[in-house]
């Protein structure tokens, strides 16, 4: 079934057991992003340390499995990484999502996030996948500002 290309086991896993969910203190910036067309929303906090280290990515929100799993995967990839590296992942993830299924994902950069490759074929769902990731990018920009 085609559905399997979208609903990878890993996505469903993250949806059912989200990693790092919940808003935590302390944090440098908090942002709230909404996808008004479907009502999905996410609140995202980041805490940065010396040398551009991402100390914590905490979040809360509601939405479909894609948007929720994407937040969970993001938490795993970004926490403990650096601002530079994590933004590189965000860029690669964005490129993959906006590639309409034509982009070959760079697994080395994306790690688990590669499971979302199938989403790129569903334009209506791309926004769901990107919601948390755009919020993260926004929050990082505000922390560093």
């Amino acid at each position: 079934m085609i559905a399997e290309s979208l609903y990878q086991e890993l996505i469903l896993e993250h949806y059912k057991h989200p990693q790092g969910r919940g808003l935590r203190e302390p944090y440098d910036a908090e942002v709230h992003h909404v996808n008004p067309t479907c009502g999905d929303e996410v609140t995202m906090r980041v805490r940065l340390g010396d040398g551009g280290k991402v100390l914590d990515v905490s979040y809360d929100g509601q939405g479909c499995s894609i948007s929720q799993a994407a937040a969970s995967v993001l938490h795993e990839l970004a926490t403990g990484s650096t601002v530079g590296d994590s933004l590189a992942v965000v860029d690669e993830f964005t490129r993959l999502m906006q590639g309409r299924g034509q982009v070959e994902p760079d697994e080395d950069v994306l790690g688990d996030a590669v499971a979302f490759a199938g989403v790129a074929k569903y334009p209506a769902r791309v926004k769901c996948a990107l919601l948390a990731w755009m919020a993260f990018k926004d929050a990082v920009a505000r922390s560093s500002a």
């Binding site: 469903l12 009502g39 939405g63 499995s65």
Partner: protein, 420 residues
Amino acid sequence: MTETLFDVERIRKDFPILSRELPGGRPLVYLDSGNSSQKPLQVVNAMRDHLEHHYSNVGRALHVLGSESTEAYEGARDKVAAFIGAPSRDEVVFTKNASEALNLVAYAFGNPLAEDERFRVRPGDEILISEMEHHSNIVPWQLVAQRTGATLRWFPVTDEGRLDLSGLTELVNERTKIVSIVHQSNVLGTVNPVAEVLARARQVGAVMMLDASQSVPHRPVDVAALGVDFVAFTGHKMVGPSGIGVLWGRREVLEAMPPFLGGGEMIEAVWMDHSTYAPIPHKFEAGTPPIVEAVGLGAAVDYLTSVGMDDIRRHEHELTEYGLAALAEVPGLRVLGPKTAEGRGGTLSFTLPEVHPHDVGQILDDAFGIAVRVGHHCARPLHLRFGIPASTRASMYLYNTTDEIDALVRGLHHVQKVFG
């Protein structure tokens, strides 16, 4: 299979898309007619024939093609007028969709050019809608309120998805300029009681409009019997083409309104510094109208009439009963709106615990080719009222079958398995 007299298999043959195979070999189960309906060959062929053999602009042309197109276009108006029991064909205004029809009326209110007292709006005047409206019957009135300083008010919705009329006498009062409500909800299926609201509107001298986008396609609607001032609906939901909608208005009220869009065809005579306007309906049809679309809508009305609107209503009523019962078997599923098929149409919106509607819709589509709508269905305030961001909606029409409802229920079980 459903019932005896209504030959749904024969009807399905008229709709080529229904036998289309989707990628991956899935059959199509189209349960999204509340969003937009499919078109029978009769409509598609009428449009093609017109384009290939008779097309030209209307009204303005004296030549053979011009007369043929004008007759076809104005003939479609006759058909629509007869279909909705309009006292006069001149009361049928073609717009681009129901939304334009609603905005056309909204722009008359508080328009500095409105001479009739009924359309004058002062700060403190009130506009009354309901909490179950489609955005197209909310936003135009918000804009009027913002332009004029009028106050927008609304009927609440009861827990079971009916219009809450307990506050009727206070909500419809001397300050009320217009009451505009939906005839049949595009989310709940609820059919609203028009007479009671209209009686009160008449007492206070308010104009009344019905958004009949979801009723005209599905049940016999007689505008004269309804007795309201305006009725809006849209071609693409009634087996007609996109690009055309209808505003019906009582002659006297339409005549009292200022023009809306200015331009060719809506004028009587133009000088550089002023103009006089054509009589209705042309006064409200600026520019080249949706000619081929009107031809298609005329064919759609013929089609619906040949099947019979009473039979269509009965068929959908049976599907609704069947569907409500079938959905009740899905664990945890919560139907929005009336739980019985009385006073409601075949629009079944629901939520499933722990599964977001986007995921429901995606899996139904991906795995089974079942097309439903997910989201707020352009009725976000109604979803807020029920405390949910979104729902899944299966909406039915003359070509749907109980088999398709069975497929939906099977699909929902699968969804629950995936997210179990």
